[in-house]
Symmetry: C2
Subunit: 625 residues, 2 copies
C-alpha cells in the first residue's frame, strides 16, 4: 500500500477536527487519494461519540461518510453502538425517545449514502426491546441490520441490563463489498464465528467494537484478534471507539490482522482517525504505540511504574479533556498546596485544557510551610497558569469561633465529645473547597478539581466537602507511589522539561492540616497512615490478588526488603488498612468521577458495595466462635 495515502488522510483528519477546508479543497484532496485506493480499501472511522448525543454523533458520521464517498472507498466502518455512543446508560430505559432518535438519524444517514457502503453501530428498538445492532447502509437505503448475539456483561458493560441477545442469524451476517464477502461481528462474538464461517465462506472479518481501555487490554486484544485471524485463515479488521466517558476510556487503535495472524495496520491511540486500510495488503502501516499499552498484567507488585506511565498520562489527559468538552465546561480551578497531588493535577489540567483555562490558588493556613507556598507559585509560573494566593486564616478563625459556641451548647452530648478530633483539620480543607466552588459559581464553565489520590481514597484520608470535593478527580485512580513516578515522567517527557519543582518530588507528603506533637512539625501522611510503599502494595494485592491479612502476613512486601519491620508492626498496618477502608465506603459513594487507569478501581462505574457493609471483618484469619 502506498504510504503517501497517510499524508493525505492526515489532512482529512485535520479538516474533520477543525472544519477549515472549502468544498474545493476537500475535493482536490479526494482526487489525490482516489488513485491510491484499491477495491479492497476500507475506511475505519475511529471516532469519539458522546453517549446519548445522537445528533452530534450522526453529524460527525455524516461528514465522514461523505469523505469516504468522495475518495471512492468501498466501505466505511464505524464502531459498535457508535450512533448512541458507548457506554449506554439508563437513559435508554427511561427515555426511549433517545433510541427513537437513533433510528431517525440512521434513516437520514442511509439517505446520504451512495456507492460507498456504511457499516455503523447503533441502539435499535423493536417491540419494547433493545438490541445492540449494526446497520449496513448503501445506495440511499438500509441494506440490512445485524443484531448482536453474544452480550458482554462484565461490570462496566453490563449489556444485559439494556439489550436483548439475538439468536445468531448466520445467513444475515455477511455483507458483499466490491465483490468480496465480509462477515460482521459486534464486539466479542467469536463464539458464533465457526458456524458463520462454515455456512458463509467469507473473505474476511469486520469487527465493530467499543472496548473499554484497561491495563493489559492491548495484549489481550492483540492475542484475541491475531488468534482468530490465524485460526480461520481470514484477514480480520477491527474498528474501535476512542474517547472517554466520565471514568471509562476507549483508546482507539483500530487495526487489521492478515490471514496469518500478523498485525498489518494499526490506527492511532487516543485520537480520532479516518484510517484507510486494506485487509489483503500485508504491507500496511503501524502507528505509534504509546509506552505502557503493551504492559502485561503483572502477577507481582512492583514500585517501578516506568513502563506504564505514558499510557496513564494519555488516558488521564483524554479523560479530562472529554469530560470537560462533553459536559460543556472549559475552565478548571484547583488548590495548589505545593504538595504532590495538586501539583500533578495542575500539570495534567494544563495539558488537557490549556494553561489559559486553569487557575491555581494557594490557600495557606498557619500550618502551611513557606516551602510549600514557594513550590505552588513556582509550579504555576512554570506552567503559565493564573496563580493567586489567599490565606484562609480569617475563614478558619471565624468558623472556629462559631464552633466553640455551638459545641458547648450541645449539653447532652458532652460525654461523646472526642478528646482529639479532626475538627480543625477539616475546617481548613472545607474553607479551601468553599473558595474553589465559589470560583466555579462566579465564572462560566468552570469546574473545581478534586485532587485526592487512590492511596488516600482507600484510607479515607481526604476531607468530605474538602479536598475530595470537586467536579472531577484527575488522579483518583493513581496511587501515591505511582504519582511520584508520574511526576518524574512529566518532568522528563513533556515538551517543557522540569515544570514540577524538584522539591515537590523530594519531600514526603503531608496534608499540612495539623502539627505532629511528637515532631513539632506538620504531620506527615505516612505518620498518620503507614509508608506509602507498603500501603500501595496492600492496595495492589487486594485489587489484583484478593488477598487476606493472613496471606499478606505470610509473604514479603517490597518495603520489607529494605526496611526491617516487626511482625506486630506489619499486622498493625494491615489491620489499620482494612479498618480505614471499611469506614471509607461512604466517601467512595460520593467521590467525584475519575479516570480509571488501574486494572481495578473503586469507581462507582465499576465497583458496588453498600456502605452498611462497613462491619465486614476483613481481619478474620481463622474461624473462632
Amino acid at each position: 500500500m502506498d504510504k503517501k495515502i497517510y499524508e493525505y488522510s492526515d489532512l482529512i483528519d485535520r479538516d474533520l477536527s477543525q472544519m477549515g477546508d472549502t468544498a474545493n479543497e476537500k475535493q482536490s484532496l479526494a482526487e489525490k487519494i482516489k488513485p491510491l485506493l484499491s477495491d479492497s480499501s476500507i475506511v475505519l472511522a475511529q471516532t469519539n461519540p458522546i453517549s446519548g448525543n445522537i445528533e452530534y454523533n450522526a453529524l460527525n458520521a455524516k461528514k465522514r461518510i461523505e469523505r469516504a464517498e468522495n475518495i471512492g472507498a468501498g466501505v466505511i466502518v464505524f464502531p459498535e453502538l457508535y450512533l448512541i455512543g458507548a457506554p449506554v446508560g439508563d437513559y435508554i430505559l427511561k427515555f426511549p425517545v433517545v433510541v427513537e432518535e437513533c433510528r431517525e438519524w440512521l434513516e437520514n444517514l442511509a439517505k446520504s449514502t451512495k456507492k460507498t457502503k456504511c457499516i455503523i453501530g447503533f441502539a435499535e428498538a423493536e417491540n419494547d426491546k433493545y438490541y445492540n445492532s449494526v446497520a449496513i447502509l448503501a445506495n440511499g437505503k438500509t441494506e440490512k441490520i445485524i443484531r448482536k448475539s453474544v452480550l458482554n456483561n462484565i461490570a462496566e458493560n453490563n449489556e444485559s441490563r439494556y439489550f436483548e441477545s439475538c439468536p445468531a442469524d448466520y445467513e444475515n451476517r455477511t455483507v458483499s463489498i466490491n465483490g468480496k464477502k465480509a462477515v460482521i461481528l459486534i464486539g466479542d462474538e467469536e463464539k458464533i464465528l465457526e458456524t458463520v464461517l462454515k455456512e458463509q465462506k467469507p473473505d474476511y472479518i469486520i469487527n465493530c467494537t467499543a472496548k473499554i481501555s484497561r491495563i493489559g487490554k492491548e495484549q489481550f486484544i492483540s492475542n484475541q484478534f491475531s488468534k482468530i485471524a490465524k485460526k480461520y485463515s481470514l484477514p480480520s479488521v477491527m474498528v474501535n471507539q476512542v474517547g472517554s466517558s466520565d471514568c471509562l476510556s476507549f483508546d482507539g487503535a483500530s487495526r487489521v490482522y492478515d490471514k496469518n495472524g500478523n498485525l498489518t495496520f494499526r490506527a492511532k491511540y487516543f485520537e480520532e482517525q479516518f484510517f484507510i486500510v486494506n485487509p489483503f495488503d500485508s504491507n500496511g502501516i503501524l502507528n505509534y504505540l504509546p509506552k505502557g499499552m503493551e504492559t502485561k498484567l503483572s502477577s507481582t507488585f512492583s514500585l517501578d511504574y516506568t513502563s506504564d506511565l505514558e499510557r496513564i498520562y494519555l488516558t488521564i489527559v483524554q479523560s479530562i479533556r472529554d469530560y470537560f468538552k462533553k459536559t460543556g465546561f472549559k475552565r478548571a480551578c484547583l488548590g495548589l498546596s505545593g504538595g504532590l497531588d495538586s501539583t500533578v493535577c495542575a500539570v495534567l489540567l494544563a495539558d488537557a485544557l490549556g494553561k489559559e483555562n486553569v487557575v491555581g490558588i494557594s490557600m495557606p493556613s498557619k500550618i502551611t510551610s513557606a516551602e510549600s507556598k514557594n513550590d505552588a507559585k513556582e509550579l504555576a509560573e512554570n506552567l503559565g497558569i493564573t496563580f493567586i494566593e489567599m490565606p484562609i486564616k480569617n475563614m478558619f478563625d471565624v468558623t472556629r469561633e462559631n464552633f466553640d459556641e455551638i459545641f458547648s451548647k450541645i449539653e447532652n452530648w458532652q460525654e461523646a465529645r472526642y478528646k482529639q478530633s479532626y475538627t480543625n483539620d477539616n475546617i481548613q480543607a472545607r474553607a479551601r473547597a468553599t473558595i474553589l466552588w465559589g470560583i466555579s459559581n462566579e465564572f462560566e464553565k468552570c469546574l473545581p478539581i478534586a485532587t485526592s489520590d487512590k492511596s488516600e481514597a482507600y484510607m479515607g484520608y481526604a476531607t468530605i466537602n474538602g479536598d475530595m470535593s470537586g467536579g472531577y478527580a484527575p488522579i483518583g485512580d493513581v496511587t501515591k507511589t505511582k504519582l511520584f513516578a508520574l511526576a518524574d515522567w512529566l518532568n522528563n517527557n513533556r515538551p517543557q522539561k522540569n515544570a514540577i519543582p524538584q522539591s515537590v518530588i523530594n519531600k514526603r507528603p503531608g496534608a499540612e492540616l495539623a502539627i505532629n506533637p511528637k515532631t513539632g512539625k506538620p504531620l506527615l501522611a505516612e505518620e498518620a497512615l503507614m509508608p506509602y510503599e507498603f500501603l500501595d502494595e496492600i492496595i495492589w494485592r487486594v485489587e489484583n490478588l484478593h488477598q487476606t491479612i493472613n496471606d499478606m502476613i505470610g509473604s514479603q512486601f517490597i518495603y520489607e526488603k529494605e526496611n526491617k519491620i516487626s511482625k506486630e508492626q506489619k499486622r498493625e498496618w494491615l489491620e489499620k488498612f482494612f479498618r480505614r477502608m471499611s469506614s471509607a465506603l461512604y466517601k467512595w459513594s460520593i467521590i467525584p468521577p475519575f479516570p480509571v487507569v488501574d486494572a481495578h478501581s473503586i469507581n462507582s462505574a465499576e465497583y458496588r458495595q453498600s456502605i452498611i457493609t462497613s462491619g465486614i471483618n476483613y481481619t478474620k484469619t481463622s474461624f473462632e466462635q
Copy 2:
C-alpha cells in the same frame, strides 16, 4: 391453631431483641409453647442481617435455632442469602475470604443443630464460582445444599454479577420434615417448579426469599404466591428478609398460602419476627398490614398520596435506623431552616433514633425570616430535640470578602464572569454544611443529615457541599407535594399530634438564600422553578410512563385543571425541567444514600447514567436535520 402461641412467641421476640431472659425463663417459655405445636409447625425466622457481617448474622441465627430446638419445632427457615445478607456487593468478588467465612459459620451452625432442621440461605463458593445457595442443617450436620437456578437480574439485584446459575437438580430439591416433604425454592424460581412437582410430589413449598420492598410489590407478591399455591394445589410458605441496606429496604411479611391460594399466615412488616406457622392450618394469623402496602401502581398521576403515607413513613424510619445501626452511628445533626424539608427530616430522625440523639440547628442569614426562625424553634421544642441557633453572618461576610479579592485577581477570566451568579446563595448553604460536618467531627458517632428532596434532586436545586451534603438523606426519594402530605400525616398519626407547626405546612417553600427583585421578598422555589404540583407530575410521568415533552404537551396535567396556563408556559416549564435535569447528573452522582420509596428513583444503587450524557436532547420532538 391456638392463637396463644403468638403471645408466647412475642415474648421470644422481645428476648431476642433485648437479650434479657435467663436460661430458665427461656426454657419455661419453651415449655409453654411446646404443647401448642404440631408436627407441621414451622418457624419462619424473619430476620434483619447485615450484608457482609457473617459473624453478626450467624450469631443471630444461632440464637433462633436454639429457640426453635427448645420449643421442639420441626424446622426453622431463614431467608435467601441470610448468612451473607442481601443485597451482596462487590466485596464478595474482591474479598473471597468473606464467602469462606460464610462456609465456616455454616459448619458451626450445623454442629449446633439437633432434631430441628434448619433451612438457611448463604453464599457458597466452589471452584472460584459463587452460588446463591440454601443449606439444610440437621443432627449436627449439613444434610444437603441446594443452589439457585433462576437468578434475578433486575437492576438492584444484579445476581448474575455475582452468582452462577445452577442447572436445576430436581431430585435434590426436597426436604423431609416430620414425615412431610417440602420442596425448597430460592427467590423467584417458579420456572422450575412444574418439573420438580412432577418428579417429587411434595406436600408443600418452602420459599426462601429476600425481596426488595417497592410500591406495588405487596400486590405482586400476593398474587404470585397465591397463584402458585392454587395452581399446584400445594400450601406455600414464604420467609422474607426484613431491614434496610443503604437505599434498599426489605419489609418482612413472611407468609403462608393454603392449597386454595388463600393467605393464612402473615408475619409483621418492618420488624424481625420468630414467626410460627403451620402450612396445613387454614386458621392462621394475619398481622397488621400497614396502609400503603397494598397500594397498586397507578397508571395516572395523583396528588392524593394519603393511601401510601404509612408505608413511606415505615420505610424511611427503618432505613434511617438500620443505616445508623449498621454503620455504627447513633446521633444526627441537621440544619433546621423552618422549611418543610428539614422539618420532616427532623421528625423522621427523632422517631428513628430517639430525640436525645438529634440536634437541630437554626443557622439564619440576613435573608431568613423571623417566622422561619420561630418555626424551627417550635418544632425542636415539640420534638424535644436539642436546639441551637447560630447566625452565619460572620462566616458569610469573611468568605464574601475573600471572594471579592480572589475574583478580581483572575484577570484573564473577567469576560467569563456571570452577570448574575449563585455565589452568594451558595456561600450560605456551604457555611451551614461546614457547621454540621464540624459537629460530626467533634462528637462520636454523629452524622450530618442532607435534607434535600426528590423534586429538588431532579432540578439540581440543592447546593453541592451545602444542603445536599450529609451522611444520609432521609427524604431524597420523596417529592415536594408528597412531603406536604407526609407532614400532615405525621401531625395526625404520630402518638404526639401536631409536632409540626401548621405554618410550616401552610407556607410556600423557599430556600431563603436570595431576594426576588420583583417581590422584594425571599425568592420562592416555585418562582425559580415552577409550581411543585406541575414539577412532581413531570417527574412521575418521566419515571413511570417514560414520556417525552411532546407526550406531555399533548395531555392535561392535574395542575392545569385548576390553573389556566398557556401552551408557551407549559412548554417553557417542560424544557426547563429537562434542561435542569441534564445538568443535575453530576449532583446525582454524589448524592448521599437515601431510602427508595418510589417505584423508580435516581439512586446510584439502581440508576446509572454517565454525567457526560448531559448533552442529550430530550426536547427533540421530531426529526429535523
